[in-house]
């Protein structure tokens, strides 16, 4: 495995780093604040995805009015929807007030992403489906001569799904150099730690053997994430970035545990202290 997340040749300025940090911290607070309004949202998985989503949405994703020249963001681990929504609100696609109506029956924001929500490129929520869709999009872009890139974010637990393995071999056959997948290694799945349920430590080797360019990064470090992405752009084949993350990152009550949720009291304490 190549180290994509080193600190040499940083592609990011101090100002930009500050800006990304501010955006991510605001999004982190907003995800935790959403707990006040609905305690069933998946906070743990959302917090582990925030820096990756921030980097993609605020640094790399290029918008274009044509569907084959824009970049696509597919949140295959759809239960991290609150993180995506918090960042789409920062980006101005949705109003911040909408965040407080998450999962409200009359609200816009669903428990998992839906394409009728501005800024959402694929309706997800059932694990294992995003990579195949991304291969379809990336293939269609190439057939049309477009220059769009496709980013797919998956979880480590999600790698249990057979469809991921079907797609993994498929992407290599299509030679998709416009496809970048993240596998976020937060080391927990629904019922417990990935080590207990199905170990994931062999995954980078498998992806590499299959023919992907495999990189890794610290999924909470903007420089590491950016370095991995810059490296990925140079590859002439599909790239997967294994991102080490912590479930519940930054929220001590649940950090690095299998817990997805916390009480409004803990959330209040966090927000007052922060």
């Amino acid at each position: 495995m190549e180290k994509g997340g080193g600190r040499d040749g940083t592609p990011i300025s101090v100002e930009e780093l500050d800006r990304l940090r501010q955006i991510a911290e605001k999004a982190r607070k907003n995800v935790i604040k959403m707990l006040f309004y609905d305690q069933t949202i998946h906070v743990g998985s959302s917090l582990s995805s925030i820096e990756i989503l921030t980097t993609l949405i605020f640094k790399y994703i290029r918008n274009d009015s044509t569907i084959v020249n824009k970049d696509w963001l597919i949140l295959s681990k759809g239960h991290a929807a609150p993180a995506l929504y918090a960042l789409l609100a920062e980006k101005g696609y949705i109003k911040e007030e909408e965040l407080w109506r998450i999962q409200d029956v009359a609200g816009l924001l669903q428990g998992h992403p839906e394409v009728f929500i501005p800024g959402v490129d694929m309706s997800t929520g059932s694990l294992g489906q995003g990579l195949s869709f991304g291969i379809g999009v990336a293939t269609g872009i190439k057939m049309s001569g477009g220059n769009g890139r496709v980013y797919v974010i998956m979880g480590d637990g999600e790698q249990d799904e057979g469809e991921v393995w079907e797609a993994m071999t498929h992407a290599v056959v299509r030679n998709l150099d416009n496809l970048i997948a993240f596998v976020e290694m937060n080391k927990f799945q629904l019922d417990g730690s990935t080590d207990e349920i199905k170990p994931k430590n062999y995954l980078p080797k498998v992806w590499e053997e299959v023919g992907w360019k495999v990189l890794n990064c610290d999924g909470h470090d903007f420089i590491s994430i950016s370095n991995a992405l810059e490296e990925a752009f140079k590859a002439n084949k599909p790239v997967v970035i294994f991102a080490n993350t912590l479930r519940g990152k930054g929220f001590a009550q649940i950090e690095n545990t299998k817990k997805q949720r916390s009480s409004p009291d803990d959330a209040r304490k966090y927000l007052l202290d922060a």
Binding site: I67, V68, E114, V115, D121, M122, S123, G125, S126, G128, Q129, G130, S132, F133, G134, I135, G136, V137, A138, T139, G140, I141, M143, S144, G146, G162, E163, E166, A167, T169, H170
Partner: protein, 312 residues
């Protein structure tokens, strides 16, 4: 389309697909390693860049097609009816939920893969596809119906499930003049005492039964329920009112299929006594599809029996 003395659904489909590929440059054909068996591979002869075999990966195939349609392509997935079902959730959660322009063509439906036995015989697919919002379900009766409908299906936007058999497909609509329209049922034969509603190859049995019943003085209408969803409520109601009795026949489970769809209409609009002919068990191996239809009493003899019972 004739091939020797056999009328074949998949042959007609494959050859027509090749022609339609000329007319629509965005049409993409995708299969999960059954290109030869489904005849989808004929498309490759001329359009190698628009033909994808994704390997034995049905779930990946469905979402791959979904992704292609999201960037404006017109993908058609072609698969055995049974093995597409392992991607039912992908069809539901991506294609259905996003209302994507993906055409799903299945061959080897019902008992048509007679030799391979119950693992290969899809008797549940109409029910499973019918419940997916945005999904339309189309079942041609014979190769002529395929010729009528495939060009229409390809032009239509949005998801469509298109159900074909394999080879066995006696000609039942060759003498009928109609244009295929989604949501329209076709009257193959008019009648006043009884209506048979069916879809697919079993319409041959429906027509045969109607001929036999005619000899007994029973006037029987036969309706080709080509479009199972959306369903032609008006035609079904009209014939229920006109004849007062309805028998449905399908090469599919009677739970959730053609019979259920017709009953759902009539119970709201004009309830009449009904009988349901179709599958209630898993299939088995046989030397021919005809043997299976007879073995499971999905044939004209059953229709005649039920008709006489209904008319008592």
């Amino acid at each position: 389309m004739m091939q020797g003395n056999i009328y074949s659904m998949r042959e007609t489909f494959g050859r027509l697909l090749l022609k339609l590929g000329e007319e629509d440059k965005d049409l993409i054909v995708i299969t999960a390693d059954v290109g030869d068996s489904t005849r989808a591979a004929y498309f490759k002869e001329k359009f190698v860049d628009r033909y994808f075999n994704v390997g034995i990966s049905e779930q990946d195939m469905v979402n791959f097609a979904a992704g292609l349609s999201a960037v404006g392509k017109k993908p058609m997935v072609v698969e055995f009816a049974m093995f597409l079902l392992r991607a039912w959730e992908q069809i539901r959660n991506t294609i259905g939920r996003m209302n994507l322009n993906v055409k799903i063509v299945v061959t080897h439906s019902g008992y048509s893969d007679h030799g391979d036995g119950s693992s290969h015989q899809a008797l549940e697919d109409i029910a499973l596809m019918r419940v997916i919002p945005n999904m339309r379900v189309i079942v041609p009766a014979d190769p002529k119906d395929v010729e009528r409908s495939l060009p229409v299906i390809i032009k239509e936007k949005g998801p469509i499930y298109y159900r074909l058999g394999r080879d066995y497909s006696p000609p039942v609509t060759v003498n009928n003049e109609y244009e295929f329209k989604i949501g329209k049922a076709y009257v193959l034969r008019d009648g006043t005492d009884l209506t048979i509603v069916g879809a697919g190859v079993v319409l041959w049995d429906a027509l045969k039964a109607a001929e036999e019943l005619e000899k007994l003085g029973i006037s029987t209408a036969v309706i080709n329920l080509f479009s199972i969803k959306p369903i032609d409520e008006n035609t079904i109601e009209y014939y229920a009112r006109k004849t007062g009795r309805v028998i449905t026949i399908e090469e599919h489970s009677i739970y959730g299929g053609v019979g259920s769809a017709v009953a759902e209409v009539l119970v709201r609009r004009y309830p009449v006594p009904m009988r349901f002919i179709g599958a209630t068990t898993f299939g088995r191996s046989a030397r021919s599809q005809r043997d299976l239809l007879d073995y499971y009493n999905i044939n004209y003899k059953s229709i005649i029996r039920e008709a006489i019972d209904l008319l008592k």
